[in-house]
């Protein structure tokens, strides 16, 4: 009888042991790298071109490093709520190693930062810059982009150059530049900075300006075209300069002139920013006076370098930060002479 009791005790001990150790953790596997990308709007021309560069660059880099990479791109369709849940899904369910976020609302990255910090996933913000205080919240937050101020300055310089070199652009010859401003999204930092600096650069170049109108076209070619169409109707020939916050809107302005069937020599100087492929061909064809090249190759490469440093090499020493955890790439002016 005593033997039996011991036997049972033994069995129960074994069972308890099995139960408690059964759920021991599995060995961690070396997995391919997963990168999550959240875009504020996948239809944005500059962004889709940037993403093409990014994909090319990252597959190349993956080949070089001998790893497989899976990039998952989520479109937030201009909804911060959608972006938040997309980033949460990327981090929590898809277990991404690095997340790249192109903020919808640059003032509201809290949910994303908190989620990332909770799961210790580094975040690379790009193109749409968040305020410095938010980037200081955690040491694994990075920003890749360009200096909005510089783009405005270059845009202003391009326009100033046009008017200084060729007086004919001042169609009414009053020595004052009548201009129309096509602005990006309301409240967007880039839009504000570009709007403000491009005009102030003109003034700094001793040019007199007269703002005919400033309309918001949300970075959008179709909207810009609609709004520009209305402006053409209103101001007709008196528009001497169209300053657009980006190429898409500049192209929209060209579309509006096309559909208004205004002859090319009657059109104003149109300047854009970003240097998208369509923008560059418009510059080449002379529809657009110039654009400011936003270094998408450089930004894509910088992002890929950062991702590789964070996820593969685990070594940040090879990265050239402009400031701590900021990588800013310079803009470049593209005028007609650069296209030939």
């Amino acid at each position: 009888m005593k033997k039996n009791a011991k036997f049972f005790l033994g069995i129960s001990t074994v069972i308890i042991f099995l139960l408690t150790t059964g759920c021991a953790e599995k060995e961690e596997q070396t997995k391919g790298i997963k990168v999550g990308v959240s875009l504020y709007d996948a239809h944005d021309t500059f962004l889709s071109e940037l993403m093409n560069e990014f994909n090319e660059s990252i597959t190349e880099e993956a080949n070089k490093q001998g790893v497989t990479i899976s990039v998952e791109i989520e479109d937030s369709e201009s909804s911060q709520a959608k972006q938040n849940s997309a980033v949460q899904r990327l981090i929590e369910q898809n277990e991404c190693d690095v997340v790249c976020v192109n903020l919808v609302d640059r003032t509201d990255p809290t949910v994303i930062i908190d989620t990332a910090q909770q799961h210790d996933v580094p975040v690379i913000f790009f193109n749409r810059e968040l305020v410095e205080g938010d980037l200081e919240r955690w040491d694994k937050l990075y920003y890749v982009g360009a200096d909005a101020r510089q783009s405005g300055v270059f845009e202003g310089e391009l326009a100033a150059e046009a008017f200084l070199e060729n007086k004919e652009y001042d169609k009414n010859g009053d020595g004052v530049i009548q201009y129309v401003m096509l602005e990006g999204e309301a409240g967007h930092q880039d839009a504000i900075v570009r709007t403000e600096t491009s005009v102030s650069t003109l003034i700094d170049n001793d040019l007199k300006v007269d703002k005919l109108a400033s309309v918001i076209a949300n970075w959008n070619r179709a909207q810009a075209s609609s709004k520009m169409g209305a402006l053409i109707e209103e101001y007709g020939d008196s528009i001497e300069l169209v300053l657009a916050n980006n190429d898409d809107m500049a192209l929209g302005a060209i579309d509006a002139y096309d559909s208004a069937e205004v002859k090319k020599n009657k059109r104003p100087v149109i300047v854009g920013i970003d240097g998208t492929n369509d923008g560059k061909s418009a510059v080449k064809s002379g529809d657009m006076y110039g654009t400011v090249y936003n270094d998408k190759e450089g930004q894509a490469d910088a992002m890929v370098d950062l991702i590789m440093a964070l996820a593969v090499k685990k070594d940040m020493s090879g990265i050239n930060f402009t400031d701590e955890r900021y990588i800013r790439l310079p803009y470049a002016k593209i005028g007609q002479q650069d296209m030939h």
């Binding site: 069972i15 070396t30 994909n55 990039v71």
Partner: protein
């Protein structure tokens, strides 16, 4: 030991086993069991042609609780590239694969040489009855002959001469493209149609340039593109001359760009394979293999629709072309 003692020990042992199993499952429930890792390898994964396919994949992944890993790739330039990626992914712990093969020549031997012991589903390829993998593909031959049919309607407008057609055939090593082309060629035979030129190859980067050259030599009246990327290249070619071209393109397309130019009139007819279903069923099929469930079907053929300008926005086509997703 007496018989009744043996019985008691047996009973307690059985009870312990039952209790242990229950406890095990109870714990597994809270831990939420390890999901399967399914790797998807397709050529040029970020191409918009895969957008609907990926939507289908993610819906399938959500429904069947698998972890998807769509490897980011550029256009494949050879088998070796794909092979490396597959090998690496298996090393990384992939439980199953969904593959678009770069080349379908000797596909069984090729897959055999990969030494895969993982479930495998091919998209845009066939599998033979003796193969262990299954495949999901649109009816490529039907697509080819359908395109031929659409072209021959246009050919009727040309009474004085043959309609000259340029063909953007894509990667002809891939079975789907090969089947589309051969079926297309077979179906235009004897009709008032002549193939002016044909461009095939695995990258789509320089199609526009090639087209310009070919068009200079032998101008085609319209262009047939057998794949989405080829159709987009064709669109790029025509748009570089402006938006005045109407009904010059026929082809297979799923991306918003191709739809836009269908809407705009440049593309006359669009053959849209149900890529969403393809993606969804690929995951389902892989899951069935992984769980050794009764497989519904080995080779699945997905639908395709002929969409023209008038029908883009009718209810059924709308849903297929633009998946409404969360």
């Amino acid at each position: 030991m007496k018989a009744d003692k043996i019985i008691i020990i047996l009973i307690i042992f059985i009870l312990a086993v039952i209790g242990g199993t229950a406890a095990w499952q109870l714990m597994n429930m809270s831990v939420s069991d390890e999901s399967y890792n399914v790797t998807v390898v397709v050529s040029n994964s970020s191409s918009p042609r895969w957008a609907n396919f990926k939507e289908g994949l993610s819906q399938g992944a959500a429904d069947y609780g698998v972890m998807l890993n769509v490897v980011t790739t550029a256009d494949f330039s050879g088998m070796k590239q794909e092979r490396n990626i597959v090998a690496k992914e298996i090393e990384n712990g992939a439980d199953a694969l969904i593959l678009q093969l770069f080349s379908s020549y000797n596909q069984s031997e090729y897959l055999g040489s990969l030494n895969l012991d993982k479930p495998l589903v091919l998209v845009e390829s066939d599998s033979n009855p003796e193969d262990v993998f299954s495949s999901i593909t649109p009816d490529n031959e039907a697509i080819g002959s359908k395109l031929a049919e659409l072209i021959s309607v246009k050919a009727k407008e040309y009474s004085d001469r043959k309609l000259k057609v340029g063909v953007l055939a894509g990667n002809q090593e891939e079975l789907a493209m090969y089947q589309r082309l051969s079926s297309f060629r077979d179906s235009i035979r004897g009709k008032n149609i002549e193939i002016a030129w044909q461009i095939s190859g695995y990258t789509n980067d320089d199609i526009e340039m090639q087209m310009k050259n070919y068009q200079k030599q032998n101008h085609a009246d319209c262009v047939v593109a057998l794949g989405n990327d080829q159709l987009e290249a064709g669109i790029d070619y025509y748009t570089s001359y402006g938006n005045q071209f109407k009904n010059v393109l026929y082809g297979v397309g799923v991306s918003e760009k191709t739809v836009y130019y269908l809407d705009n009139g440049m593309v006359a007819s669009l053959v849209v394979p149900d890529e969403y279903t393809c993606g969804y069923l690929a995951v389902k099929s892989v899951y069935e293999k992984l769980t050794h469930a009764q497989e519904s079907k080995k080779n699945i053929q997905i639908d395709h629709r002929i969409v023209d300008r008038a029908s883009i926005f009718n209810e059924t086509d709308e849903m297929m072309i633009f998946p409404r997703t969360q």
